[in-house]
Amino acid sequence: MTDEIREGLKYTKTHEWVKLAGTKAKIGITDHAQHELTDIVFVELPTVGKEIKKGEELCVVESVKSVSEVYAPVSGKITAINKKLDDSPETINSSPYDDGWLVEIEIKDKTEVNTLLDPAEYKKA
């Protein structure tokens, strides 16, 4: 099984991805992470408007046997959540980088983006 590492995204060592668009960051978990978790059966998303700090628990992704925390790659305010995951958490398995996104954050501190990994760095991590 080869894990896709998509170009044009930023990554964390803890297997989150970040898609930057202006001051907004869309966040999800990587193909590697969804392979490791296998069948994702439940996602607990935060509420829109919540302020979160980099490194804090952003949401919880559960497979049949495991509970995994997803950490905020950057600080900011949550501006959108992927409601579709309430009914179809398996979307993360089938489309980790597109339809399976988790949340969108309004970035508070742009300099934090510099701490994220580019695809080549993530591949080595």
């Binding site: 069948d39 049949v64 509970v67 309430d86």
Partner: protein, 368 residues
């Protein structure tokens, strides 16, 4: 030290991912838990459960020793029968649950993973204390244990033996040749499906038997199954997992295993149980099916109107029902079937209904 099954190389080739369980590195899954779970409910799956223990009990007082140390009167268990039972401390709490097989002059006991030394020592001490002539041998590392489970288990295994499996009753056990290898076969399992468990010695013969079963089941869609699905399969049937359900010291009465107790004989823990039975107001094992989304897990609190009434010992998403299910201990007066309780998952209550076990009935797959 982490032990590996003699089938480790076979499992690596089959694409297993591994986990450590009770000191063993065992496959947790091959494809995915949900996929493997459904294969066992609908077709047939092959498990390596070598992490379980094997103890021979022999000698003129073997029957007496088992009767003394379990809630079963072993004298009632005929030759060729397997029996599920529990081994108790003097205070009535469960040391381990186990199956023993009556094989002629001998008994083979199957304690849980990692319990071989504890049980061997306990039985040896009790034999000495009560002047019973019995020999207790831990042979756990001399045996590989395979379980073949699912509605197509019988026809798959029948291809590999001259023994008519139609004559082996549920909870029957006997010596058989499978794919030319001498095995002890028991018509038992931990999935709630039709199935068999095989004890194979020496371990070097096991890979051949494993491969032969995989080949024989090819047309039936057989797959190797990991411990992940083993746990979800047993949980849907509300079968106990010793490490979870008996953690912290629980009696068979609390675990609602009263049906396994043969009261009409003397056994270690009996007096404590009689006392508890008379007193009556103890927590009891209870099955809860969630009506809200969310998955209950080990140690989640169970509440009613904000007050704690129990604790979850095992919880998962049920692959068959696609909803959270939990087993746990609940106050004796809060567990009427139909009662609605809250299970607290990450500080939030999830509604769950008390049901009568099992969560998934027999022959569930045929009714889909």
């Amino acid at each position: 030290m982490v032990l590996r099954s003699p089938l480790y190389d076979t499992q690596v080739k089959l694409g297993a991912t591994f986990t450590e369980f009770a000191g063993f590195e065992m496959p947790i899954q091959y494809t995915s838990i949900r996929d493997e779970h459904m294969v066992v409910r609908k077709k047939v799956g092959l498990f390596d459960v070598t992490h379980m223990s094997n103890v021979w009990i022999t000698g003129p007082d073997a029957t007496k020793l088992i009767s003394l140390t379990t809630v079963e009167d072993a004298a009632r268990v005929e030759d060729g029968k397997s029996q599920y039972t529990e081994i108790l401390r003097e205070n009535g709490t469960i040391i381990d649950d186990t199956i023993f097989m009556h094989l002629g002059e001998k008994y083979m006991m199957i304690p849980n993973a990692g319990m071989n030394q504890i049980i061997t020592t306990w039985l040896t001490e009790q034999a000495k204390k009560h002047h019973l002539k019995a020999k207790i041998q831990d042979v756990s590392r001399d045996y590989v244990i395979l379980a073949i489970q699912g509605p197509l288990a019988k026809e798959t295994l029948q291809k590999l033996t001259d023994t008519d499996l139609g004559n082996v009753k549920f909870f029957g056990c006997q010596y058989v040749k499978i794919a030319g290898v001498d095995c002890i076969l028991s018509h038992t399992g931990y999935t709630g499906e039709l199935g068999y468990e095989l004890q194979i010695t020496p371990p070097s013969k096991a890979a051949g038997v494993f491969d032969a079963i995989m080949n024989a089941g090819k047309d039936s869609g057989i797959q190797p199954i990991g411990l992940g699905a083993r746990d979800t399969l047993r949980l849907e049937k509300a079968f106990m997992l010793a490490g979870n359900e008996f953690e912290g010291g629980r009696t068979p009465l609390e675990a609602t295993l009263g049906w396994t107790i043969f009261w009409d004989h003397e056994f270690i823990g009996k007096h404590a149980l009689l006392k508890q039975k008379e007193q009556g107001t103890f927590q009891r094992m209870t099955c809860l099916q969630c009506t809200d989304k969310g998955i209950p897990r080990h140690k989640c609190d169970i509440q009613q109107e904000g007050a704690s009434v129990g604790i979850v010992t095992s919880g998962t998403l049920s692959p068959c029902l696609n909803i959270g299910i939990a087993m746990g201990y609940v106050a004796h007066d809060k567990r009427e079937p139909g009662s609605i309780l809250d299970i607290i998952v990450r500080d939030k209550p999830i509604k769950a209904t008390v049901i009568k076990p099992p969560f998934v009935p027999k022959d569930w797959a045929t009714k889909q």
